[in-house]
Amino acid sequence: MNGITLALIPLLPLLAAALTCGLQNGRRAAALAIAAMLGSCGLALAAFNQAWGMEPNEHTTFDIPWLTVGDTAIPLGFVLDPLNGAMLAMVTFIGLLIFIYSAGYMKDDRRMARFFCYLSLFAAGMLGLVLANSLLLLFMCWEIVGVASYLLISFWFHKPEAAAAGKKAFIVTRIGDMGFLIGILLAFKTTGTLTLYNDAETGMLQQHLTGTVFGFSVAAVISLLLFMGAVGKSGQLPLHVWLPDAMEGPTPVSALIHAATMVAAGVFLVARTFPLFEVPLYEEGILKMTHVVAWVGAITALIAALIALGQYDIKRILAYSTVSQLGLMMVGLGVGGVAVGMFHLLTHAFFKALLFLGAGSIIHGCHEEQDIRKMGGIGKSMRITSIAYLCGTAALVAFPFTSGFFSKDEILASAWASSKPIFWIAAAASLLTAVYMTRQCLYVFAGTHRGEHTPHESPQVITVPLVILAVFALGLGAMAHSSVFEKLPGEAAEHETIVIVVSVIVALGGIALGWLIYRGRALGQEADPLAVTPLVRKLWFDELYAATVGRLWALAIIIAEQLNELLLSVRDLAVLLADRIGNAFAIGGDRKLIDTLAFDGMCNRLRSAGHAVTRLQNGFLPAYLRLIALGAVALGLLVALMK
């Protein structure tokens, strides 16, 4: 694996994006994008194979000089280590499956070629982000995936909600990105480099940072700012509001970007820059940024799981579930370390992509119906999809020995070892996860169909990716468990009995609880016992923002308008003043001075001088003679005096 083959991993999808943007034929664009993704996936698996043979703290870097200003050089380049090797394999593999799925899902869309162009652009950005060995390159790719996300959420821009959701996603994540950018600048100022690792051991993450900002250690401040970017991208509280709305995009997009990969970029960023997060906030303190990360994650996990209970849109439930699971990953990073958080990221990517793709298949089968109250009885009519979906559900609720069970278990174990409150919050979130997933499955699969159209099974191009993902959702945890902890930095915590008991109880208990609540109810017809107003209204987060940020915005608009008025009047005053000055010049200067005084005055004087001279010209000949004589005398006198 050299630098060029590594660079090809993001460049292949980028090339596909460039080629497909001009295509009209959707099938050809899909074939091109899938081929590029296949090549990228092959290379990524080779890279993964190499990375997995490395030591946990070994990094292979490929940098090229990019920008040189004076003595400061900013190289751009790629790094390969076990952390992003695993990410690469996950992103390209899931991406490939979703690309294939999309070819079936979007086949009736008139703008299918454009869809694959955007998807390829996203894949290129995401892979660049994963590979980046420089915070700057990482940030660039971070913004590329942001743009691709915007384009894909509002792909059906003729729907006002989709257009608004795209804008919301872009703006909300931008708030976090601002922190990220400031963090990059601060890091550059502190370390003098943006490269993460290099062979000379002078990379940003290889240095020991000293110094303080406002009394905090500089590394902690940088990591806090970077974490802001992660909060925006990974939908953590309080910037989670864009992620559920992002479900307005096509379902494969939700699966790829808003479940498996892009939203995990925030978690990946924290994992990537983890050495900064481990520096104490104060010189001698024990408080670290990891505690902040863990608490933000825990609160997000609990609140998002709560809101998911009250939702009726099948994709929105999954979206809140994603927010909740991303919170758990943050908890994992905060309490356990890179390995714990990343393990859950990897397993979650598979089962959440599976759930979204399954949901897409169900939506397709139900003729674009997304409301779970109008579904039901899907289990009989869409057998493959249903089984795959149940596999994903089992993994999500951490049913014993599925992949989610292993990863969530690690998070709970680390939380138990590190902080009891966080452990209980995470356990509660897990319990709620089991409840809302049971509720959703009962709504969707059990009973008889409540919609108008008879559901039908999706074609193979959709079901085959589901089956492949289902296998990974069930088996990946057991398969990868030991090697992840071997290869990624971070220790697995001691699994105490209580942790395992609680872990199993919340999974099975949640399912049982959901079963008890919804058993025997006429779902869809009678009121839902858990869909109480606060949950249906998403705990009024949107309303809160409308009342605070929105108001502030309105106020800012009023101020801006007043400022505008002020500026306009200043402008009017200036115009008036210029007018007056111009007039003064025109009347006083031009008319009075130049015209009257200079021009007319000169003419008049010339004329009167002429008159005076003409008086000499009286036609009286002797007088002329006298003048001649006078002139001669004057001349003679002049000559005499000159002598």
Binding site: Q617, G619, A629
Partner: protein, 103 residues
């Protein structure tokens, strides 16, 4: 007799001519006066020549001869002008000839 005597005579002659030219109203008399002034100048030429260091060179008589010839031509033109004026105005009175001015 010294040079000064001749020069004073020439100056007196010139002044007489000038006075005549200034004061007389008859165009022909004015022409006469101009000729007197001319001859005053001629007298100066001759006097300066006669009392110069090298009279053999004949500078003075040369200039005087030229001046007399030019004066003869000038008088011919002048008298022709006077006749033309007389035919036009029916007079040779200079006071009445005032059309050489702005109307």
């Amino acid at each position: 007799m010294t040079l000064h005597h001749y020069l004073i005579l020439a100056a007196v002659l010139f002044c007489v001519g000038l006075m005549g030219a200034f004061t007389r109203r008859n165009a022909i008399v004015v022409l006469f006066s101009v000729e007197i002034m001319l001859n005053a100048a001629n007298l100066n030429f001759i006097a300066f020549w006669r009392y110069s260091d090298n009279p053999a060179l004949l500078h003075g008589p040369m200039f005087t001869l030229f001046a007399i010839a030019v004066a003869a031509a000038e008088v011919a033109v002048g008298l022709a002008l006077v006749i033309a004026v007389y035919r036009h105005f029916k007079t040779v009175d200079l006071e009445s000839m005032d059309t050489l001015r702005e109307e």
